[in-house]
Symmetry: C2
Subunit: 245 residues, 2 copies
């Protein structure tokens, strides 16, 4: 608890959305685990100091996200509750990092293209002016739910064909291996957070106002030569990062 449950009026964020975000967070924190359901609408209305109808708008939004399901006469049941944990270290691997947290993982290739490397990319991948890169747009799911949307760049000609290798295996690690790179390490990871944009909402199945964690990460081969730079976006209410030193 310890949350003073006040909501902000006239802030440009509708009360029902603030309350929906609070309840979603409380579910993720396991605050209702003992009952398996959300408190009654009247109780929530009292707690947040709003009208019952406002709470209903919030719960309707959560039902739309398939997080709760209201049952007349009983209450509002919690359908799904998840917060995945991603370890970030020298040996960061997407699938291994999830470990036992998901029964099944999936990596989809949305798009791929070869393109001229931008200035920023040249610097990060330590490439010569005019170098080309392969860009992969990927979507990763755990147990059917999208958990990250990533754009990754790889130097060519070294990694030409990584798009097909990824499509076959659904894993960057496996794709690297099939192209002769048996090991790689995480060099650096930048973490920021921002509001979900239109494509986040579409790909990660988020609603407006949701938060995405954004990472910019660089991987290198054992000799230290950069092999991949990626910008990944994670739904903040379903994911957290852990940095072990």
């Amino acid at each position: 608890m310890a949350t003073d449950s006040s909501v902000q009026r006239q802030s440009g964020v509708a009360l029902w959305r603030q309350i929906a975000d609070r309840i979603r967070g409380a579910i993720a924190n396991g605050e209702y685990d003992d009952t398996g359901r959300v408190p009654p609408e009247m109780a929530l209305a009292a707690r947040f100091g709003v009208n019952r109808h406002t709470v209903r708008s919030a719960l309707a939004a959560l039902a739309q996200e398939d997080i709760v399901r209201p049952i007349q006469g009983i209450g509002t049941m919690i359908v799904r509750k998840e917060r995945l944990n991603f370890p970030i270290s020298r040996r960061t691997r997407f699938i291994e990092g999830l470990g036992a947290q998901a029964r099944e993982t999936e990596g989809l290739l949305l798009q791929s293209r070869e393109e001229l490397a931008s200035e920023d990319l040249l610097r990060r991948l330590e490439l010569a002016e005019g170098s080309h890169v392969v860009r992969l747009e990927t979507l990763r799911k755990a147990d059917g739910r999208p958990v990250s949307r990533a754009t990754a760049w790889f130097p060519v000609p070294w990694f030409a064909g990584i798009d097909e290798a990824y499509q076959r295996s659904g894993s960057i690690t496996a794709a690297f291996k099939s192209l002769g790179l048996s090991d790689y390490t995480r060099v650096s990871t930048e973490v920021t957070a921002t509001h979900a944009d239109a494509s986040d909402m579409k790909d990660l199945k988020l609603s407006a106002g949701a938060i995405v964690l954004v990472t910019r990460s660089l991987n290198a081969d054992p000799g230290g030569k950069p092999v991949q730079f990626a910008i990944s976006r994670f739904p903040a209410d379903r994911v957290q990062f852990t940095i072990e030193n």
Copy 2:
């Protein structure tokens, strides 16, 4: 660019707030560095597909935050543009991490208390049942702007009096040193993101709908004994983290 500039209607987040958040982000990304000012209201209105008055509401909110200042006849000038970078590593130090990014840093002690350690805290600090801890509530500023709000716990009797040591020096590192701990390392850091709550808005001077990055970090002495567990909250539009491995 590459930002599809669409805004979401009927999402529970007012258009003026979405636009304010976008412009704040664009300023932080340096997109207007060449002119030092925001595009004219009519241009922004066209770009976001809204009425000029809606853009004015957004700019008024940013002016309220002291990020821009409108000047009649000229345009809307950018007053402040900041995104601080925090390195996270074994040797994470708040002030050193900021380095040259701020001319002046400040650490304020808001509150301190000795209390019984919670179950979670006992586990994280590896303490025996019934142990006590000192809790410090701190606020850190860089060049006068708040950049983090932290709650930190330290085992007693080892660190009894760390509140006064912190108040004198404004630095955890210095406070540790004055209590005989000359070195410590970061063991782990968890990162999540959430919406600003009422106390975030107050202490970090944020507006509703803003995003805070939340870290849960554990520090230990050179022998590996935990000396500090902290939950810190950073304004996401002014801060990013970098993990170097």
